[in-house]
Amino acid sequence: MADMTIAGEFFRGIVKDNPVFALVLGLCPTLAVTTSVENAIGMSGAALFVLLGSNTIVSALRKQIPPITRIPMFIIIICTFVTIIDMVMEAYTPPLYEALGIFIPLIVVNCIIIGRAEAYANRNTVKFSIVDAFGIGAGFFVVLVAIGAIRELLGTGEIVLFGLKLISIPITPATFMILPGGAFMTIGVLMAMVNYNKIRKAKKGA
């Protein structure tokens, strides 16, 4: 990827290498957490912080990390960031921690972060790793909020964001959307739409 530009990397993270649709990573939190838009925002925010931290440190130390103990060292870095954010938020911003509490440990098992550390940060300069973290984080945010909105709207009939009711549709709430089945279906449908768009473009192009 010789001709890497800042903007190029950023948008690549959102569209071409979208963490959830293209790379198929980070599904566990994506499905578990997107029962509401509020949770989705919280999760992707926390994930972005950790991703930024880990990408920077990993790419800064990439020359030092011996290939033999590669995975454990990535994990130590990632987990330190997660524990930091966990402790700091628990003590200093209790209400926010109350809302995001269960997501923080989830981040450490978020495949996106080690996925990027292994596939990207380990091979590129700090500058591009940070941009990549922003790009992937934004991609993650967009997808999470989209799925969260769909599931919350269909599952509970309304979207409540930080207490204020944004939209409400007069349907009998389909709790199916809150259950695991609904989550899989939503992401399946969205992914099919993305593929359809890609194929249409490829057909026109080829």
């Binding site: 599904l27 103990t69 987990c79 450490v108 495949c111 279906m185 099919a192 593929n195």
Partner: protein, 194 residues
């Protein structure tokens, strides 16, 4: 907690199945379940790491962290042990079956962050299971993971011959199959209230 081994087994494999009910371990599940060979390879690796991780994390938690009151280090120490086990598995697979190593690709390191494994060890700690219970839970959760993984790989291989609109082929198709599977498992959940 005096959960009988049977209830742990039913919990691990069916009712609280890590993949379909608890959403844990999906990244590798979707990524690798294209064909049974790599699915089997992956589940064997996950099962091995789960059992070893349950043993190691139990020892660390009860004999190191608890007495010294450093429970805030639980997540980090567990995950280092898992990462170490995965690195070990990576060496073994690369040595003894390079094709499997190639087909697992990026998903091998991803086992480390495989939510299922960390899920098992943290649950072991939170429910403060005894040693046998922890190891048993590791085994049953691993079997639950393997069962669903192989089930999914078989279905996906069979469904290749179906005529599916082009946009749905591949991953969306896999997700729809998973939807049906998880509905079946969740209905199990309602039947046996634990």
């Amino acid at each position: 907690m005096e959960d009988s081994l049977f209830s742990i087994a039913v919990n691990g494999i069916f009712v609280q199945n890590f993949l379909l009910v608890q959403f844990l371990g999906l990244c590798s599940f979707v990524g690798v379940s294209k064909e049974t060979k790599s699915a089997a390879g992956m589940s064997a690796a996950v099962l091995f790491v789960m059992i070893m991780a349950s043993i190691a994390s139990f020892l660390i938690y009860t004999y190191l962290l608890l007495p010294m009151g450093l429970t805030f280090l639980t997540t980090i120490s567990f995950i280092i042990v898992i990462a170490f086990l995965v690195q070990l598995v990576e060496f073994i697979i690369r040595k003894y079956s390079p094709p499997l190593y190639r087909s697992l690709g990026i998903f091998l390191p991803l086992i480390t962050t495989n939510c299922a494994i960390l899920g098992v060890v943290i649950l072991n700690a939170r429910l403060d299971y005894g040693f046998i219970q922890s190891v048993f839970y590791g085994i049953t959760a691993g079997l639950g993971y393997t069962m669903v993984m192989l089930l999914m790989a078989a279905i996906r291989e069979k469904s290749n011959a179906l005529k599916v609109p082009e946009a749905v082929e591949g991953l969306p198709h896999a997700f729809f199959i998973t939807t049906l599977l998880s509905m079946a498992f969740v209905s199990y959940f309602q039947v046996i209230p634990t």
